[in-house]
Amino acid sequence: MKKGKSIFSLVVILLLIALFITAALNGLNLGFYQVEAAKDGIPLGLDLVGGSEITYEAQIPDGTSAEDAENGIHSAVAMLRQRLDMLGYTEASVMTSGSDQIVVQIPNVDDPEEAVQQLGTTAVVEFRDADGTVWLSGSDIKAATYQYGPIDNSGISTHHVVLEFSTEGREKFKEATKAVANRSGDDNYLEIVMDGEVVSTPYVDKQEFAASGITSDTAVITLGNNATAESASYLANIISAGQLPFTLDCVKLQAVGATLGERSLESSLMAGLIGLILIILFMCIVYRMMGVVSSIALVMYTALFCVILSIGHINLSLPGIAGIILTIGMAVDANVIIYERIKEELRAGKTLRSAIDTGYKNALTAIIDANITTIIAAVVLWWRGTGTIISFAQTLLIGVILSMIVMLIVTRILLKAAVGFNIRSPKAYGV
């Protein structure tokens, strides 16, 4: 390699590193794509920011049909969302897990046990009039389902909710709608209330229902012009929540205080930084110039890792950080294998160029072998792991693959550049 080419490849590598570090620290606007800074783009797990993860399990009685159970779970999810909003946990998330579990994640919760109890209780759903008189309760409604289609002769399709009543509920609803339709003011509506909070206020048509109320087995709630499939099915789910076919039991709770979360993050980042510095020192002392080359590649690897996590918005928990730190330690393994080989070849009297070529060629199978077994372990952990361990599996997998690429390619380019710069003293190679 000529000197000019060596300078070129060295400059390119250094510029790339600068680019990745900038992207990781401050974000990067590529015009067509905005790379977020690592601290904004990487969602941190609850064990790093503090918060609670509550797993509820639906205690589905034997004989419940799969469909009822599934609808019940949807209602329960809507109920939990509604409650989380009511309690002010706007950053909380709700998701289902398996066929009968619902996982609620709440960052920064003050009193986890209170949240467990408030969220999991059976919902009280009521239909009230403007005065607050309760006309119907959850048990009066057999089913509330979301539907889309025309509801009158106009033939225009709308998103709406169909209520189906029990025999008793039908009578109550008839009385309720009659009373509401006959109110003198503009308050001819029924409030649909969950846990004391008004969720919807459908109006009852004065002229149509003043005489006898709504007498059919089913009734339709429309949501106006802004109705969407989402808002209508949400309302249907909330109404159904008053009559869930099961109770929710908290079967798992993981609560981490904000202080501990913060300390976990700080201490592990510090451990990672010091570890990185020590590894760089070790490599530079043992392998001299080749160690410096590894160190440059290692810095690039770490920065690029952060950028990838940020672009992928990959959830990072405490074991995930441990995974990154572990792969930083393992990343130089590829270099160690190659460098030892290069040193041997140099001692055997080979020229620098051929020593480097042989070193990379001979070491490659060992390096790939080593990484394949770790990849197997990481993939299985990702597939079967639970909780925060999944984050470890992800960072381990990304780290092993990324390190193989970065450490092999970058060090090879830089070592060839070094040859171009005429760095030939065996001492520079730690021999």
């Binding site: 064990d47 399990e57 003050d110 986890p112 046990e113 209170e114 467990v116 109890q117 039991d249 908290c250 079967v251 798992k252 709770l253 993981q254 609560a255 205080g257 501990l260 300390r263 976990s264 201490s267 592990s268 451990a271 990672g272 010091i274 570890g275 020590l278 590894i279 070790f282 074991p319 950080i321 441990a322 730190i325 572990l326 930083i328 330690g329 393992m330 130089v332 393994d333 160690v336 294998i337 030892e340 041997e344 060992a366 072998d369 080593a370 394949i372 077994t373 770790t374 197997i376 372990a377 990481a378 299985v380 952990l381 079967r384 792991g385 639970t386 909780g387 361990i389 599996a393 381990l396």
Partner: protein, 305 residues
């Protein structure tokens, strides 16, 4: 650095075998006891179900404090806690481990402790974990499936990658590493949970690496000197790869030991088994695997004769 070392690992195999036996025996006993319902491992609530809570008491936690907390828990829940231990950087925290408690009872335990130790208004547990027995069983099954599948896949890979005898030697070295980790789990009573599975599988993947590097070198040297005695080739190969074995272990340890030093307790419980596994992996690939391969070969050769 080690090119001229003459120490023979194959000739001193017995010494290493005895050392290893001592290292793994506790783990083996621990495993054998499980089917008889004797748990030497400190199984975490992940796998058995239960509750752990960590409170800041703002006071030095000594034996009196733990005894007192124990009796408070017993008063509230009607059963003595499984354990109450000191925790935190300055030793002012307690970790209470109990059987399953419902949310109300967990709250009551905290309130009672808060009252007894005059904890400031608005304080909450630093950490609170609860797993029901049924979920614990699910997690346990997940862990067993993950371990079995990963072990099977890695074995499959070894079978493809190695010839039969060296494969057996590599597997023995791996089993050795896992058993050393299990022994340390018993001796130090590290909470046995999903973290262990993750650490064990990582070590399974990582440790085979060191053995592969040594065995590759043995194979290469055999081609160069086919008439040389096998044991001598093994010893030479081990010494030739010694720099690599040590340097890789050092860099990996540099990263993970710092987590052990600076990390919070939950990550220390993850870093410790990894550290043990990395050291055990280095030891077994250098001191055991080559010699075991030699022994396996020797036996077969005699049978043929």
């Amino acid at each position: 650095m080690f090119q001229n070392c003459k120490f023979s690992f194959t000739k001193h195999f017995k010494i290493f075998a005895v050392i290893s036996l001592l290292l793994v025996i506790v783990g083996i006993i621990g495993l054998v006891c499980i089917p008889f319902g004797v748990y030497l491992f400190n199984f975490d609530i992940d796998f058995l179900g239960g509750t752990t809570m960590q409170f800041e008491l703002y006071t030095d936690v000594n034996a009196d404090v733990t005894a007192n907390v124990e009796s408070i828990v017993k008063d509230v829940t009607g059963a003595a806690p499984s354990s109450v231990i000191k925790a935190g950087d300055s030793g002012t925290q307690v970790v209470i481990k109990t059987l399953e408690l419902d949310s109300e009872t967990r709250d009551q335990v905290f309130q009672a402790v808060a009252e007894a130790y005059n904890l400031p208004e608005g304080d909450q547990p630093i950490k609170s974990d609860y797993v029901s027995a049924s979920v614990g069983a699910d997690l346990r099954n997940s862990a067993i499936i993950a371990s079995a599948v990963a072990a099977a896949l890695i074995l499959l890979y070894i079978t493809i990658r190695f010839e039969f005898r060296s494969g057996v030697a590599a597997v023995i070295a791996l089993v050795h590493d896992l058993l050393v980790m299990l022994s340390m789990y018993i001796i130090f009573q590290i909470p046995f949970n999903m973290n262990f599975i993750a650490a064990a599988l990582t070590i399974l993947g990582y440790s085979i690496n060191a053995t592969i590097v040594v065995f590759d070198r043995i194979r290469e040297n055999r081609k160069l000197a086919p008439k040389e005695e096998f044991a001598a080739v093994v010893d030479r190969s081990i010494w030739q790869t010694m720099n690599r074995s040590i340097n890789t272990t050092v860099t990996t340890l540099l990263a993970i030991v710092l987590l052990l030093v600076f990390g919070v307790s939950s990550i220390r419980n993850f870093a410790l088994p990894l550290t043990i596994g990395i050291v055990a992996g280095c030891y077994s690939s250098v001191c055991l695997s080559g010699s075991i391969w030699t022994k396996l070969r020797g036996k077969e050769h005699k049978q043929h004769a």
